[in-house]
Amino acid sequence: MTHCTIVDLLAFKENEASAWARQHVETCPACRAELEVLYQRIAALKALPVRRPARDRWPAVRDTLRVEQRRQRRRWGAWSLSAAAGIALLLLIRPGPAGRVDAAELERVKQQSATLEAELERYDPDQRVTSGRTAALAAALEDRIAIIDGELAQVGMPEAPVRGAELVKLWQERVDAMQQLMTVHVTRANYVGL
């Protein structure tokens, strides 16, 4: 005697069974029993116990969100920062008593900063799972970078007293902070093997 296959029974459950399968289930006690087993198995799957995560992942989600919000704000301010930096450079390379700064050195650290910024973009930490500790470290560094950016924007204002060495020092501090931020992300990634 030919019985229904599991495919037939699953189709029967969804009212998609063939005419033969429908008729067979009506007349075959074994297939009706098998259909009942299928229903019971699905009911038992639905009744499996609820499992809860061992660790709370919200702190990591929250910290990553904060980092992203800070980064977003930093991006919004980036255009004004680069405009201010351009003005500052113009003022610095002007001959005058305020003193000269090595324009080449300034360009070098600015370029370094831009390269690190691009590397961080490529690394895309937002798309990676991160621990709460990593996110907190990253957040602290993001804050530091935001403060430096604020100071750089001030230094770049035409009315600000421009001190060349200070400007280079600020950009260098920004580079250092960016390097530390990369290290935090990459070290974490290496540690978990991502």
Binding site: L48, R51, R57, V61
Partner: protein, 193 residues
């Protein structure tokens, strides 16, 4: 699984406005169901926790795009299922199927196909939860995902096919194979159903 998944509209509105407390409240409301869904689809609790984190990162990033059409849990569940399936695709590079493929179309699992007699414990007795859970865990991640999404979460084969980037036939055959394997494993253990 009996967990209340209803959240007040005002909470969703606050979350959409970026209120961190409201976002945390949403996380607390859906943490367990998301983790459960991921755990049933994936192999390890660690993977499931990672999917939980990835899901909520996506939720907090894109909650503004949630227009309130349909239940919030349906929206979050789809994100979670999608993240879990992405992880399965990554895992498949290094994980081999635990069981040989079984031809679809074999008899449904009657113990004696020749006579049509019922298998041991076919309908009698209460479902053996621990045995079923263990058997379910031994399925491949793909099979588990299809079974869970279809039989427990109520997804249609069309929806599963779309999520997985596969055909409807693929989803149906995965479901049939998985049930045949479950039946066989439970029979071997003398457990029901």
């Amino acid at each position: 699984m009996t967990i209340s998944l209803a959240v007040p509209d005002i909470l969703v509105a606050r979350a959409r406005a970026g209120d961190l407390e409201a976002l945390e409240a949403l996380y607390r409301a859906f943490e367990t169901p998301v983790y459960n869904l991921a755990l049933r689809m994936l192999r390890t609790p660690e993977d499931a926790e990672d999917v939980l984190q990835e899901t909520f990162l996506e939720v907090v990033r894109s909650i503004k795009q949630y227009r309130g059409e349909g239940h919030l849990w349906g929206w979050i569940k789809r994100i979670a299922a999608s993240k879990a399936l992405m992880r399965i695709r990554r895992n498949q590079v290094r994980v081999t199927e635990q069981f040989d493929e079984e031809a679809v179309g074999v008899h449904a699992g009657h113990a004696d196909a020749a006579t049509g007699h019922e298998g041991p414990g076919a309908v009698a007795g209460a479902p053996a939860r621990i045995d079923l859970e263990r058997a379910f865990e031994r399925l491949s991640e793909t099979s588990r995902s299809v079974v869970w999404l279809h039989d427990v979460e109520g997804y249609t084969h069309e929806e599963i096919a779309e999520l997985m980037g596969k055909t409807v036939s693929f989803s149906k055959s995965q479901l049939a194979r998985a049930h045949a394997r479950l039946r066989r494993m439970l029979d071997a253990e003398g457990a029901a159903p």
